[in-house]
């Protein structure tokens, strides 16, 4: 199932709705990269609240999204990692240290907004 991606001002919001197959994850990666270019987005929120499992493949792919979008000038923040999922990721040995995370969508958007405002060329003059 494709993950819907909404444009909200300078940001994109990808809300995962249900369990993702590996194919869905790869497609999400491609879709986000395409939309970042199309809308010249400055930030992306990926909402994983609905995920009951984040195994090594999903985690690696989300980290990949964060790294790739950064190279395109957009910050990604992963929001809504459930407590049990966080526990499992740590046990699994997933390293998520270089990825921005926030509690929920609201916190994630606030984080991106803050980043954007802090930039010296914010607003484009």
């Amino acid at each position: 199932m494709a993950v819907p991606i909404l444009k909200q001002g300078p940001f994109l919001i990808a809300s995962i709705q249900a369990a993702l197959t590996d194919t869905d994850v790869v497609r999400l990666q491609d879709d986000i990269m395409r939309q970042v270019g199309r809308f010249r987005s400055r930030g992306i929120v990926v909402d994983v609240t609905a995920l009951d499992v984040m195994d090594s493949f999903v985690s690696r792919s989300l980290r990949g999204i964060a790294h790739m979008t950064r190279l395109r000038g957009a910050e990604t923040v992963i929001v809504g990692i459930q407590p049990e999922v966080a526990f499992a990721m740590v046990q699994l040995g997933m390293n998520f240290e270089d990825v921005h995370t926030a509690l929920d969508l609201e916190e994630g958007l606030a984080f991106l907004q803050e980043k954007l405002t802090a930039e010296p060329n914010a607003g484009g003059g």
Partner: protein, 135 residues
């Protein structure tokens, strides 16, 4: 609604991986597993079932309820007739992979469950057995 005591899921594509872990989650919920333990088990299944699609192509995940000495658990056997693993010790080390993953699959899955057995030989397939007991 009663849940079956055993389920076999044929693994041939990535959506079967999701089916297998959801079957175990349902079974575990029926036994009264905590949601943390359900998530740990489902994540471990995801790792071993993905190894089937990545390295063997096809295989099977069999999930069943275990009852012994007054305790209940779930046993998962992921088996395939793929190439097998030449160096088991190496395959169980964090970060080692012959694929393009992170090398967390087997060692990670082992940390998520209570019992873990790996039976494999080059050319003779791979069988991974996981058990999670209800806390």
């Amino acid at each position: 609604m009663p849940v079956a005591d055993s389920v076999r899921v044929a693994i041939a594509s990535d959506s079967d991986v999701v089916t297998a872990r959801q079957a175990a989650r349902e079974m575990g919920a029926g036994l009264g597993f905590s949601s943390t333990d359900l998530t740990l088990l489902a994540t471990a299944i995801s790792e071993v079932a993905r190894n089937i699609t990545t390295y063997a192509g096809t295989g099977e995940v069999a999930v069943r309820v275990l009852r012994e000495r007054g305790r209940e658990g779930i046993e998962v056997v992921a088996s395939d007739e793929g190439p097998g693993i030449a160096d088991v010790e190496l395959a169980l080390q964090d970060g080692y992979t012959t694929g393009n993953g992170l090398g967390l699959g087997l060692p990670g899955a082992r940390r998520l469950v209570d019992e873990f057995d790996l039976d494999t030989r080059p050319g003779a397939g791979t069988r991974v057995r996981l058990v999670k007991w209800r806390a």
